[in-house]
Amino acid sequence: MLRKLLKYEFQATGRIFLPLYLLLFLFTVMNKAFLSMNSGNIGASGLQIPTFLAMTAYVCIVVAIVVVTLVATIQRFYKNLLTDEGYLMFTLPVSVHSHIFSKLLVASVWTLLSTIFSILSVFILAASPDFMNTLSRMIQSFLQAFGQFGAPMYLITGEAVVLVLVTLAASILNIYVSIALGHLVKKHRVAGALGAYFLIGLVEQFLFSIFMTAAKNGEWFRSFENWDHTVLIESGLAALILVTAALGAIYYFGTYYILKNKLNLE
Amino acid sequence: MGWDLKSGRPIYFQLMEQIELRIISGIYPPGGRLPSVRDMAMDASVNPNTMQRALAELENEGLLYSQRTSGRFVTEDEGRIMEMKNKLAKAVIDEFMKHMTQLGYNRRQTIALINQTEEENN
């Protein structure tokens, strides 16, 4: 059942994202062509206006992708589950877990793809012999670090990747639980959602500042200074992963509880 | 012939009458096979359970019989059908006579009026 939900979720969202990605590709190529024709000197070939237009179009597309990714994440959840379409979705023989998880997974995939494609496209535009040199030197020093530190580098890199993914999931779940909380406020659902989002943000900030104060004043924090740096980074990342995962779990179960027990479609 | 169902009286009862009329008029001839309950229900736009009840009652009265695998049939007993026809006709007459009495005609006057009307029409 989950697989079927994923299929439909991708179908519904793909028709928005794939054309955008295609446009991104086209504009990247177009701009690349113009750049190489001008060889870095705008106006050299007399194609000022087209070059300018192409660059504007490119910037628009990148901005559009960023905006659309965020809006789609919100819209898919809100529109598909909490408006009229909810009558269809919630009478399907699937669990609430499947609903949340399928939306979360698909939103994560698109966010990752949007980020990767945008970065790639910038790389392509920026690619020049100088740039490639700098890049290869960076990669080399990175690999050197691996050689120097050995195994811990793999662990740290792995942790960093996990942290990125967990943060991604947690932020999406943050949005979902805000929308779900907004759903509880019968007449002001949008305001309720925004309010919930800011409130959660405030609570997160508050907890963070408590932690920082404890860190500054606490004896126990100083003891960390004696730790081996590598272990420190590894544990720090691990702690961050755990905290973010815990937040994500709280947001997930909050969303689940509201959708299962407090659903009230108009 | 449409299905004329009015309010106030049980639907199954009215269905029985309408089926009887169809037997008399030859739409469901003696010995003939009736359509399925579902088809008849759809035709009359009624609940199949209601149609089933009407048919069961008519079976009880001997106007229909069912053979398990072949379906429902109208009786071949012409006498029985005649009996039913007479019953319906009598009901019409009773109703007619009631109206005529309301209008102030007695039995003799009513029959005279019928004959007179017949002659005028010919």
Partner: protein, 232 residues
């Protein structure tokens, strides 16, 4: 035999409003039941509860002996009052969607009905008129072999010919193993196809009876009785 739908002292309250109060009723298999009542009497709430779209505040609601959940949704086919299908999808895509999620969905039946109504499978829902959209929804719902069909105002806002078509579709779908609950306030149109009726008034059951009983014992049609019971 176990009833397909049973409510035991079912209550649903919202802040400041009691939608259903102590409702107890049963729907046996193979019955076509009318859920009748004025606007705000709790009909939609009851149907949403049966669908698992709402959770009871008190009492219980059982579908085939169990509380609403993924299992009950497999055997319940629901036609809501509003259009709830994705506008951008084509009719064909929707048929595939239903076939994917519901094991008891029959594509042949759906395409047969669509064809008879001259609805092209390739059209996007967005391009269809409101009446046609509603027919599509009905076809999708009735193409399932569910144990319980919940139809919320299936003939409201449709022309008389379409009304006849819808009622005939309900009759032709009838089996002894399935029940249909029709919630409506257009009683005279629907009365002939009903076995039983339940009158709901302000969240409580005002009356339950078979249609035959009302006609035999009270010498009225259900429509007439309704007007009496709910006189303003």
């Amino acid at each position: 035999m176990e009833p397909i739908l049973e409510c035991r002292n079912l209550t649903k309250t919202y802040p400041g409003k009691m939608a259903l109060c102590g409702v107890s009723l049963t729907v046996a298999k193979g019955r076509i039941v009318g859920l009748l009542g004025p606007n705000g009497s709790g009909k939609s709430t009851l149907i949403k509860l049966a669908n698992g779209l709402l959770t009871p505040t008190g009492g219980e609601l059982l579908i085939g002996g169990k509380a609403p959940g993924s299992e009950s949704k497999k055997i319940v086919s629901y036609l809501p009052e509003r259009t709830y299908l994705n506008d951008w999808m084509t009719v064909r895509a929707l048929v595939d969607f239903f076939a994917d999620f519901y094991a008891d969905f029959s594509k042949e039946k759906a395409y047969d009905m669509l064809q008879r109504l001259n609805i092209s499978a390739g059209s996007r829902l967005k391009t269809l008129s409101k009446g046609t959209k509603e027919k599509v929804q009905l076809i999708l719902v009735m193409s399932r072999e569910a144990s319980l069909y919940l139809l919320d105002e299936p003939i409201g806002g449709v022309d008389p010919a379409a009304r006849d078509y819808i009622l005939n579709t309900i009759i032709s779908n009838y089996t002894e193993n399935a029940s249909v609950v029709i919630s409506t306030h257009l009683i005279s149109d629907v009365e002939k196809i009903l076995d039983d009726v339940i009158f709901l008034s302000m969240g409580t059951v005002a009356l339950t009876s078979t249609v035959d009983d009302i006609r035999e014992k009270k010498n009225k049609s259900v429509d007439e009785l309704f007007r009496e019971v709910f006189k303003c």
